[in-house]
Amino acid sequence: MTILRLNKIDKRFGGIKALKSVDFEVEEASIAGIVGPNGAGKTTLFNIVTGYYKPDGGYVIFDNKNITGLKPHQICKMGIARTYQIVRPFKDMRVFDNIMVGAKFGRPLDKRNPEKWAREVLEFTGLINRANEFARNLTFTELRRFEVARALACNPKILLLDEVLAGLNPAEVTVACEMIKKINKEFNITIVIIEHVLKGVWALAEKVMVLHHGEKIGEGKPEEVFKMKQVEEAYLGTRWEAVA
C-alpha cells in the first residue's frame, strides 16, 4: 500500500525552479531514499511534505488524505515527523523535556503514558543516561541521535530523515544505519531518508529517487539507479570519452 504519494510537485523561488513536476511514491513500512547533489531540491521536497512550503503545483497524498496546504503542526499530528539537517534542539530544556514535547504534542499515543513512551524512546536511542542533561550540552553525535529520538517521540507513521548520517565517521554510520533499520522493523515506521553518504542509502533503502536541479532523473533499486548514465553524470560529470 502506498502511504505517501507526491503528485507533480512544482516549486519556484523567484526565477529558480526548485522542483519540476516531481512524482514520488513511498510504500508503507518500507525505507525510501532521496539522493542528489547540493541544491537538487531534496530538502525543499521535505519542506513541502511537512507543510513549510506550499507547492506551486501538484499535491501530496498521505494515508489517502490530501495534506497539501495543511499547517506543519497538523501534519505532525497526522503522523509525519522529520529531523533537520542542521539540528534544532530546544537548547535550554532538558533532553527528557525535549522528548516529552514530541510525546505530548505529536500524533496521539492512544492510551499510552507519554512519560513512559518518552523513556522508551530514550532507551531505544541510547540517550537515557543523558536524560537530565540540558540539550545544549550534548555532543555532535548525540545531537544527531537526539533529533531522531524527538521525531520518533512524535509517534509518526512516517519518518523523514534529512541527512542524519552527515558528519558521522564510518563506525558511527554503521551504528546509525542499524538504528534506522530497527526503527523501521520494530516500530513499523515508514522511513524516507535524504542522504549524501551513498553508503548509507545503499545499505538501507529499498527504493531510491535521484534529484538533479529539481528534476527526477532516476528511480528504482539502489544498485540499478547508481548505474544509470544520467545519475553518474549528475554526480561525477560527463565521461571524458563521451566529450571527445
Binding site: D92, M93, F96, D97, V101, F105, G106, I128, C154
Partner: protein
C-alpha cells in the same frame, strides 16, 4: 481551596499565605503611606508576573506593557459608573484579551529585537488612538474616575497579584507552558513537533494582556483622574521589562523580588528628593543583567536560577 492543596506543595501554600497575610495587614499596622507604596509594589508584581508569560516563557520580549495597562485603565474609567469596579475589572480584562488577540496576529509574526521595537510602538499607538478618539469624539482629554478607598484597592490588588502568580505558576507546569518554552527555544522545531505555535503565542499574549488590563483597571480607581499621559506612561513598559530581565526571564520569583526591591528603592530615592540616581542605577543593573545573561547568571542569584525544565526530572536510570 482543595484543588489548590492538591496542586501546590505545602511550602508554596505557606509562602502564598504569608504573602497574603503580610500584605493584607499593612493598612492595619503600617498606615496610609505604607499602604500607598504597597499598592505600587503589588501592581508591579502583577505586571511583571504577567509579562513572564509572553516574554519569559514564549520568548517574545514585550516592551509595551503600558498599552494594556492603560487600556485597562480607560475601560475601567468608562465601565465603572455602569458596572461598579467589581464588574469593570473582568470587563476591562476581557477587552484587553480581545485587543491582544487582534493585535497579536500581525505583531507576533515579528521576531527578536524587531518585536521589542514594535511593541514599544504598540504602546504609543494605543495611546494616540485613545487621545484621538477622546479629543475628537468626546471633546475631552482626561476623565474623572470613580475613586474607591485605599483598603479596597489594596485588597483587590492582592487578589489580582495572587491570581496572576497562580496562573503563571500553573501555566509553567502545564502542557501549554511546555509548548511555550519550546517556542522560545526554537519556533520552527516546535511547529514540526506538533505545537500549534500561532495559537499558543496568541493565547500567551492574551493572558498577559488580561492581567495587565485588570491591574490597570484597579489602578484607575486609585488615580481619580486619568488622561493618556497618566494611563500610558512609558515608565510602566520600561520598568516591567527591566524588572523581568533583572529577575530573570521566566523566573517568577525573581521577577516578584526585583519588583519589590526596585519599587522600594525608587521610593527611597524619591523621598530623599532626588530620584535621578535611581535611573542611573536601573540602567547599570539592566546592562549588567543583559551582559551576564549569556553566562546564565541573573543578578538575583540568591534566588537560584529558575529550573527551565517543566517536567519532574527523571530519576537515574534503573
Amino acid at each position: 481551596m482543595k484543588v489548590l492543596m492538591a496542586l501546590l506543595s505545602s511550602k508554596q501554600i505557606a509562602a502564598l499565605t504569608l504573602f497574603i497575610v503580610v500584605t493584607a495587614s499593612v493598612p492595619v499596622f503600617g498606615g496610609t503611606y505604607a499602604a500607598s507604596i504597597l499598592i505600587i509594589v503589588l501592581s508591579f508584581i502583577a505586571l511583571v508576573s504577567a509579562w513572564q508569560i509572553i516574554s519569559g516563557y514564549a520568548g517574545y520580549i514585550l516592551l509595551g506593557s503600558a498599552a494594556f495597562y492603560g487600556l485597562g485603565m480607560y475601560m475601567s474609567a468608562l465601565l465603572t459608573p455602569i458596572l461598579t469596579l467589581y464588574g469593570a475589572i473582568p470587563a476591562s480584562a476581557a477587552v484587553c484579551f480581545a485587543a491582544a488577540l487582534g493585535l497579536g496576529v500581525p505583531f507576533l509574526r515579528i521576531k527578536g529585537p524587531y518585536f521589542i521595537i514594535a511593541t514599544l510602538a504598540l504602546g504609543e499607538l494605543i495611546r494616540n488612538i485613545v487621545t484621538f478618539t477622546e479629543t475628537n469624539y468626546f471633546r475631552t482629554l482626561g476623565r474623572i474616575t470613580i475613586m474607591y478607598d485605599l483598603t479596597t484597592i489594596l485588597y483587590l490588588l492582592i487578589i489580582n497579584a495572587v491570581a496572576v502568580i497562580l496562573a503563571v505558576y500553573f501555566i509553567k507546569n502545564s502542557k501549554f507552558g511546555l509548548g511555550l518554552m519550546s517556542i522560545k527555544n526554537d519556533e520552527i522545531a516546535a511547529e514540526s513537533c506538533g505545537i500549534p505555535t500561532t495559537k499558543y503565542k496568541l493565547l500567551a499574549f492574551g493572558i498577559t494582556a488580561v492581567f495587565m488590563g485588570s491591574t490597570g483597571a484597579i489602578m484607575a480607581s486609585r488615580a481619580g483622574y486619568i488622561d493618556p499621559d497618566i494611563a500610558f506612561p512609558a515608565y510602566i513598559s520600561i520598568y516591567t521589562l527591566v524588572m523581568g530581565i533583572i529577575g530573570g526571564l521566566g523566573n517568577l520569583i525573581g521577577g516578584i523580588v526585583s519588583a519589590i526591591i526596585l519599587t522600594l528603592l525608587f521610593e527611597i530615592f524619591l523621598s530623599m528628593g532626588n530620584p535621578y540616581p535611581f535611573g542611573i542605577l536601573l540602567g547599570i543593573l539592566l546592562i549588567l543583567s543583559v551582559l551576564l545573561r549569556g553566562k546564565r547568571v541573573t543578578l538575583l542569584r540568591i534566588f537560584r536560577m529558575q529550573k527551565i525544565t517543566v517536567q519532574k526530572p527523571l530519576s537515574p536510570a534503573k
